[in-house]
Symmetry: C2
Subunit: 135 residues, 2 copies
């Protein structure tokens, strides 16, 4: 129930990016300097955010990143999933994984499903636009 530090950094990075005017050039170096996140770490985080489709990247000199969607259309859940994978409290909730020996006879799974939806809903309800607000 704890964020990995990379996901934590991703939230800070995305909030900084959202505060910039639309279409502005966002190099990893610029964001690193503005947020205080170490440059190599910012590079890795922004790379993963781009791979997940939250940022659009441009290579080469003069390249950089920009938000793929409006800040209001990106949720905290999206950012976390970009770095950590699907938000699923247990493996049995994530449809594609079936490595639990108890599955089939497990009597708590239906209830965990409800709890998981509640958690996920709480994270989806927070938009990047909100996170980027002054305070």
């Amino acid at each position: 129930m704890r964020l990995t530090s990379l996901a934590d950094y991703a939230v800070v990075v995305m909030a900084a990016a959202a505060r910039r005017p639309d279409g502005a050039r966002l190099s990893a170096g610029l964001i690193a300097e503005e947020t205080g996140v170490p440059l190599p770490t910012a590079q890795k985080v922004m790379g993963r955010l781009a791979a997940a489709g939250l940022l659009v990247s441009a290579r080469g000199a003069g390249g950089g990143f920009r938000l793929a969607r409006a800040a209001g259309a990106i949720s905290l859940a999206d950012i976390i999933e970009a770095l950590e994978g699907p938000i699923a409290m247990t493996n049995c909730i994530q449809g594609s994984i079936h490595d639990c020996a108890l599955e089939g006879s497990c009597r708590v799974k239906p209830h965990l499903n409800i709890a998981n939806d509640a958690v996920r809903g709480a994270l989806q309800g927070v938009s990047l636009a909100t996170l980027a607000e002054a305070k």
Copy 2:
């Protein structure tokens, strides 16, 4: 945002314990057999649950565990915290830890605080009595 497998087992174990009549003897072996959780793992999980005050333990022959409180007074959040420590998405939310270089100038922390409370609330709203229901 994923439960460790020990916390996952803890939920299964506690649900099985709650289905037993109050005051019944609950040895780790019995619970392991009933739930399908490997015995050594059940021992470790129940030991930690006892250390956290959710179970009361009795040593020696004829010993075992019992619920420390009524099932309705134990929440999913309690069980998770017993195995994983405080529910805090980031270190800066957990009051006693201050190892984030950005702290003080961080502009997203107030918003994360709100999100964290929402997640924690969702988990506190699920009681062990609910988890123990037939389905």
